[in-house]
Amino acid sequence: MLTKSLKLLGATGLALGVGLGVAQAQTEIEMFFPVPVEGKLAKEMQSLMERFNEAHPEIEATAVYTGSYDETNLKTRAAIKAGRPPAAVIMSANFILEYQLNDEIEPLDPLIEAEGSSADAFMDRFWPALHGNARFADRVWAVPFHNSTPLLYINADHFREVGLDPDNPPATWQDWAAAASKLVKREGGETTRWGLMLPENYDYLGWIMTALTMSNGGLYYNPEYGGEVYYDTPSMLGALTFVHDLAHEFEVMPAAITDGKAVSTAFFAGQTSMVVLSTGSLSFIRENMKDDYRVAFVPRNVRNAVAIGGASLMMPKGLSEEKKQAAWTLMNWLTSPEISGHWSRFTGYFAPNRQAYELPEMKQFIADNPDAKVALDQLQYARSWFATYNTVAVRKALEDQVQAVITGDKQPKEALEAAQENADAQMRPYVEATALKLPASM
């Protein structure tokens, strides 16, 4: 404690007496955070923590960098099992359900009610699309921190070059495939420019397939029950067949697995005219794209619909009462309109707190950046992100098969049957403990 206080003194140069007194009364909390997007995010998070600690002398919060979303999940789980839970975690929004199923996180309702508010009033400040992954099973389990949806990014110069109107980007799958066929460039047997590229690495691919099946009228998963996914269904079959055709019939998309980084690099380099990427990439693309570009909704076949992405703040169980309060203060501060808006402008994610958009600096930002407005407008069509028992394995069951279809090793129908079977096997323990746990003979 003393060394800690001294360090604090050394760092801030506070007067000795005051500094020591303050440090001893402080509640020390840790928050785990992943770095999902590019830029100096880790540094920005540290400076946010400094601001928070300055404004809250009774708390000393530390932000702990914990790798990617998956590594953050691993570290959080290990830390909880080892008896060292962090006070708060910025967790991929679709992993929250599993923590709730495992009884590892605190419901936030008591903290909300202690402030004289209600769960309804609390959730009302967030965009409706975000509610599903934060409030379920009659409780509030998470506070949305930064969120995204997939967006269609198009190279406006390429559009003009082939006689398409960049201000009227494709809105339906029909237009989309037609535009891609016009945009693709071949020299001899080689494709020198692709019409479209999709990020096809794990996690990203599942999210893209969610967007496509939802745009095709599907749901992807049962939002009410963690033991069902809808892989072997007409809406998913349509979506996967469309992906198959883009690669193998129209030949406008590489028949090889391209990861998110390769996709954005290819877009910057003009090697592809259209890409689907997260709204979280918006700032990065805005800063680094040399060609003229536009963004648009993910095109629809049946309806406009995408899944949200991003992360929420959650609070593991096993914390002391002071730590809980301190973590709650931090969570509220991080999702306040001002900080939410600041983080949104810095990263490209949209601010989950809709009040953020009523602040003058945010209004100015939206006016200056019409692309950010498109991302915001798409929110009204956004839905919850797929979350089930054993989320990652269930997602991979589909992704492996979709990759096999893209590379031409499988046909869509057989791929989906295999994916469904594998996913069902992954969820079986939960299903048997819940929906299939029936009364025995009396």
């Binding site: 840790e30 770095v35 999902p36 997007v37 590019e38 830029g39 100096k40 995010l41 880790a42 540094k43 540290q46 530390t62 702990v64 960098y65 914990t66 790798g67 990617s68 979303y69 590594e71 691993l74 570290k75 789980r77 290990a78 830390a79 099992k81 080892a82 008896g83 060292r84 962090p86 995204s148 996690d203 990203y204 998110g260 980084k261 954005s264 690099t265 877009f267 910057f268 380099a269 003009g270 090697q271 990427l277 997260s278 979280g280 990439s281 990065f284 693309i285 680094n288 794209m289 040399k290 060609d291 992405g309």
Partner: protein, 287 residues
């Protein structure tokens, strides 16, 4: 230019062509192996450029810039990262050398009941995939009060099955005559180890040291699990904190520069001590 054609005698030509072929093959393999390194060097000096196709090019067709290094250096406290990583690697190695020497000696020279069973039990550890031990190890570390400390990063590696195996094999190649002579002169068991066996086993220890330092220098997952405060981060974790991003394109230049900074000490050390290293590996049979 009327340069004289190289003279080639009939006998020499056959010899030379075989040799040339071998050199060409080796050069080809070396090129394939060194491509990532070369690309890393070229990309780290390339001016920030997201749009160009030249980003993937190996050819340095630009004015080199140190901007990427400057950005990497300012993105993390590299002095602290280097210090922590060196402490971790050196600490692990120091303890390992003591434990593997003693255990290797026990398995090579002492006879006790169940020696073979214990030894093969030890070897079984090599079969375990480290990630499955993350939760139990972290629980132990936390109980010992070592969570978020460099000692916590080191602790699980203080014993090494591979090292014990290597030292046992190395000791067994040393003729017993040396020890017997020393015993006649009145040496105790620890004098035997320290004055007779350890000096003779040095190449084996150097080989082990290389494997140990390289693997712990590059380790990412375990330090990420144990360490929470910035002050205790190691190089790999520090590097990832400003270069990893799942949802967007990468700043390849900065990544390459950061990776150069992380890899440089090892590359440098290898360059300096190349001959000793190669000799050790040849001697000990480690590949």
């Amino acid at each position: 230019m009327a340069a004289p054609r190289p003279l080639m005698r009939a006998g020499g030509a056959r010899f030379d062509s075989g040799r040339l072929l071998a050199i060409a093959l080796l050069a080809g393999v070396a090129l394939v192996w060194s491509t990532p390194l070369l690309w890393m060097l070229v990309a780290s000096l390339r001016p920030q450029n997201f749009g160009g196709l030249d980003m993937a090019s190996l050819w340095p067709d630009f004015t080199p810039t140190l901007a990427n290094f400057a950005e990497a250096l300012e993105s993390a406290d590299f002095a602290r990262l280097y210090l922590n990583t060196i402490l971790v690697c050196a600490g692990i190695l120091a303890v390992q050398l003591a434990t593997i020497t003693l255990a290797g000696y026990a398995f090579a020279r002492l006879s006790f009941r169940g020696r073979e069973v214990v030894f093969y039990g030890f070897l079984l550890q090599l079969m375990l995939v480290p990630p499955i031990l993350i939760v139990p190890n972290l629980t132990t570390i936390t109980r010992l009060g070592l969570y978020d400390s460099l000692l916590g990063v080191m602790a699980p590696y203080f014993a090494s099955a591979f090292g014990v195996f290597l030292m046992r094999q190395t000791f067994r190649t040393i003729p017993r005559d040396f020890e017997e002579a020393a015993v006649v002169d009145g040496a105790s068991w620890w004098q035997l180890i320290w004055r007779v066996l350890v000096p003779l086993a040095r190449p084996g220890m150097v080989a082990f040291a290389i494997v140990s330092v390289v693997s712990h220098w590059n380790e990412f997952l375990w330090p990420l699990m144990v360490v929470s405060s910035l002050d205790n981060q190691t190089l790999t974790v520090g590097l990832a904190s400003f270069t990893m991003g799942a949802e967007s394109a990468s700043q390849w230049g900065v990544i390459a520069a950061g990776t150069c900074l992380v890899a440089a000490p090892l590359l440098l050390a290898f360059g300096l001590f190349q001959r000793q290293f190669v000799n050790s590996f040849l001697f000990s049979g480690v590949k």
